[in-house]
């Protein structure tokens, strides 16, 4: 569904992504790990369409469409979802109204009728259970005054409502205690089908105990330097990122 070829991007004058290649197929879970500053969040932002970044080379196809030809909203309407590392607080907009607007904008794009209030409420109640979020929270201003855990659960709740084909989880584990992490991960797992895919971006292995990846990629200095199965994450946890540097050092010297 997603095919990234030699993707290079920069912010202002700084090169951040230096040539990423990645293929994601329906049903798969991919994890991207890497030290701070390796370009993990930049990759998520470029895919979701944040305008701060300039793509300087390469291509990304999403179900055969050139992703860079699509606006941020059209990417979402085509089925791409980014769970934010730092969800934005928006006073004056309730989560319920926000999600309802999003659901109906996506339906409109697909030529479907807007969802009526009753059907929406029913769907919402069902999806709320997935992440153990209550209605009182959803009627409050979006993310305003929410705890770290509540914000991340709200991200997964939105994902549950929008049913994306590809979900990118950007450091969803950051700022979560172990209980909140488990709830969030269980929510993600329940949403998995053979037709959708998940790209988990994380610094730590811990989240991958709960969301088990099919592939683990190590990002370093803006490119993927190593790919393996879930055991690679464990190896990384055990040896730290230095072992990658050593491996690369050997390569460079050889």
């Amino acid at each position: 569904m997603l095919s990234i070829k030699n993707l290079q991007a920069r912010i202002e004058e700084k090169e951040i992504l230096t040539g990423i290649n990645l293929d994601i197929k329906p049903g798969e879970v991919h994890a991207i790990m890497g030290p701070n500053g390796s370009g993990k969040s930049t990759l998520a932002s470029v895919l979701a369409g944040r305008s701060d970044y300039e793509v300087t080379a390469g291509s990304v196809e999403f179900f055969g469409k050139d992703l860079f030809e699509l606006s941020a909203e059209d990417r979402a309407r085509e089925g791409l979802f980014l769970a934010f590392q730092y969800p934005v607080e928006i006073p004056g907009v309730s989560t319920t109204n926000f999600v309802k607007t999003a659901v109906n904008e996506i339906r409109k794009y697909r030529g479907e009728e807007p969802m009526d209030a009753v059907a929406f409420l029913k769907l919402m109640k069902e999806r709320m259970k997935l992440v153990n979020i209550d209605q009182a929270l959803l009627s409050r201003s979006l993310n305003e005054g929410f705890s770290g855990g509540e914000k991340k659960r709200n991200e997964i709740f939105q994902m549950a409502m929008l049913e994306p084909k590809l979900a990118i989880l950007d450091e969803t584990d950051s700022g979560l205690d172990i209980d909140a992490l488990r709830i969030v991960a269980e929510g993600v797992n329940k949403l998995r089908t053979k037709d959708n895919a998940t790209l988990v971006i994380t610094h730590y292995q811990r989240l991958l105990d709960y969301i088990v990846p099919d592939f683990v990629h190590i990002l370093y200095k803006g490119r993927i330097v190593k790919t393996g199965g879930k055991e690679l994450a464990l190896e990384l946890e055990e040896k730290g990122y230095d072992f990658i540097k050593e491996e690369l050092g050997e390569e460079v010297e050889a």
């Binding site: 305008s51 909203e73 979802f81 969800p87 934005v88 928006i90 109204n97 926000f98 929008l162």
Partner: protein
């Protein structure tokens, strides 16, 4: 009711005619004995004669050029016009079924078109010329014209000159007025340009509670200018809510001065909503003369076209332990201009004052303008005061967040702008009015859920 009606046509407010007109009225037999009223009218006339309409050279009028709007033929306050109940029907505000409706035509209270539901033991409405003679004499004598201490300019003086045709309203002691007061200020500009001078003195007695809604209305397509002064005295334990809705065409301008004296420990909330118009100047003054007063001042201006809106506010803390909280927000589009000037005085006796002020603006076009200026003058040492202003565009991160969920750019902007406005709308504690304003704003911003 014994109201004076005057008619006069002048070129650029020709002083000699105005003088003759007013002198003639206040020297009449029926006017004798109206000491403070007569004195105020005379003083107003004299001061206006000296100062004229303020120009941009006047520090308080630097950004608002009313002289340009007034530089043409205007008919002064012609009270008896052809305005009918059917005309009034056109612009009655939602919830009017449960309201006292006070109709002012060309500045003069029109009892026949008004609908008073509250009984006389809680709500008294009489001409100022009557109030100044009877049981309210001392209240009128000590309060009428108090705003002139804060506005020493010709436009305030001009209204003072016409004070003799003003209205006195009293909310009686211990009465919570169930029916809000809806005040419609109608200028009948069907046949000529109208300059009206509405004047009210509102007395809210101890332990009384009242909600007042004001709206300006112009009938017809000639120019309309309302120069209004409301002076409000709030006694011990009283609560007052003041809501202003300003939504007019470009040919309708106004200067509205609302001067609130909190003479006992009391609470007053004010919400000023400006949606469009010509040149709009709102003076809002809170004079806190007792310890422990609370004053909340909220404003939202959501303007476009060539609308010019100027909110000048004053909070004068004279005694200790008062709280004032001020938040004005603006959404300015096209060629519209907004001015915000917030003065806070903390006098030497006003220790432990808490005074907060904030003005936040969003500019939607390159030709929209905001001039914002906080002015704090603090003469006490143990106070908490803060002020701040922001001028910006929409938050890019918030916009991206919404778009990343599939919400198109236009809808996302509308959602954010509505969210920006709603903080003020929520301060209107009169549901039909809040809904009414929300609906207008939503339509303006093309906001839908």
């Amino acid at each position: 009711m014994d109201f004076f009606v005057i008619t006069c046509k002048t070129k650029t407010l020709k002083m000699s005619e105005l003088k003759d007109l007013i002198q003639d009225k206040i020297s009449k037999e029926s006017f004798s004995g109206n000491g403070s009223l007569k004195a105020l009218s005379q003083k107003g006339l004299q001061l206006f004669n000296e100062q004229g309409i303020p120009t941009v050279k006047h520090e308080e009028w630097r950004y608002t050029r009313i002289s340009a709007v007034l530089n043409k033929d205007f008919s002064y306050a012609k009270g008896a016009t052809a305005v009918t109940a059917k005309d009034v029907e056109e612009f009655r505000l939602p919830g009017h079924e449960n309201a006292n409706e006070l109709v002012f035509v060309n500045g003069i209270y029109h009892a026949e078109l008004s609908m008073i539901r509250s009984s006389a033991d809680e709500l008294v409405i009489i001409p100022l010329s009557e109030a100044v003679k009877g049981e309210y004499k001392s209240i009128v004598d000590s309060n009428l014209g108090h705003s002139a201490n804060y506005h020493k300019d010709g436009i305030n003086a001009l209204n003072n000159a016409f004070a003799y045709q003003g209205l006195f309203i009293s909310i009686k002691k211990n009465k919570s007025v169930e029916h809000p007061l809806y005040c419609y200020y109608i200028n009948d500009a069907r046949s000529e340009n109208v300059l009206s001078q509405p004047r009210t003195l509102i007395h809210v007695a101890a332990n009384a509670e009242v909600k007042i809604v004001e709206e300006e209305v112009t009938i017809g397509s000639s120019d309309s200018f309302i120069n209004k002064i409301s002076e409000i005295i709030v006694e011990e334990n009283a609560q007052v809510h003041l809501y202003k809705i300003q939504n007019e065409d470009s040919h309708s301008s106004c200067v509205k001065t609302t001067h609130v004296r909190q003479v006992g420990v009391s609470k007053v909330n004010s919400v000023t909503i400006t949606l469009n118009g010509g040149v709009i100047r709102n003076n809002l003054n809170f004079i806190l003369e007792a310890s422990g007063c609370e004053s909340n001042m909220y404003g939202l201006y959501c303007v476009k076209g060539n609308t010019h809106v100027d909110n000048h506010t004053i909070v004068d803390n004279k005694m200790p332990n008062s709280l004032s909280n001020e938040l004005y927000k603006g959404i300015i589009d096209e060629n519209a201009t907004a001015v915000f000037n917030g003065k806070i005085f903390v006098r030497p006796d006003a220790q432990k004052t808490n005074a907060y002020q904030s003005n936040k603006n969003i500019l939607l076009s390159d030709t929209a303008t905001i001039n914002t200026k906080p002015q704090l003058e603090i003469f006490a040492d143990d106070v908490k005061c803060s002020h701040g202003c922001t001028i910006g565009r929409l938050d890019e991160e918030a916009l991206f967040y919404l778009r990343s969920r599939g919400i198109g750019e236009k809808a996302a902007k509308a959602l954010l702008l509505h969210a920006f406005a709603i903080e003020i709308l929520e301060k209107i504690e009169l549901e039909p009015i809040r809904q009414y304003v929300d609906q207008i704003i939503s339509e303006r911003l093309d906001f839908k859920i």
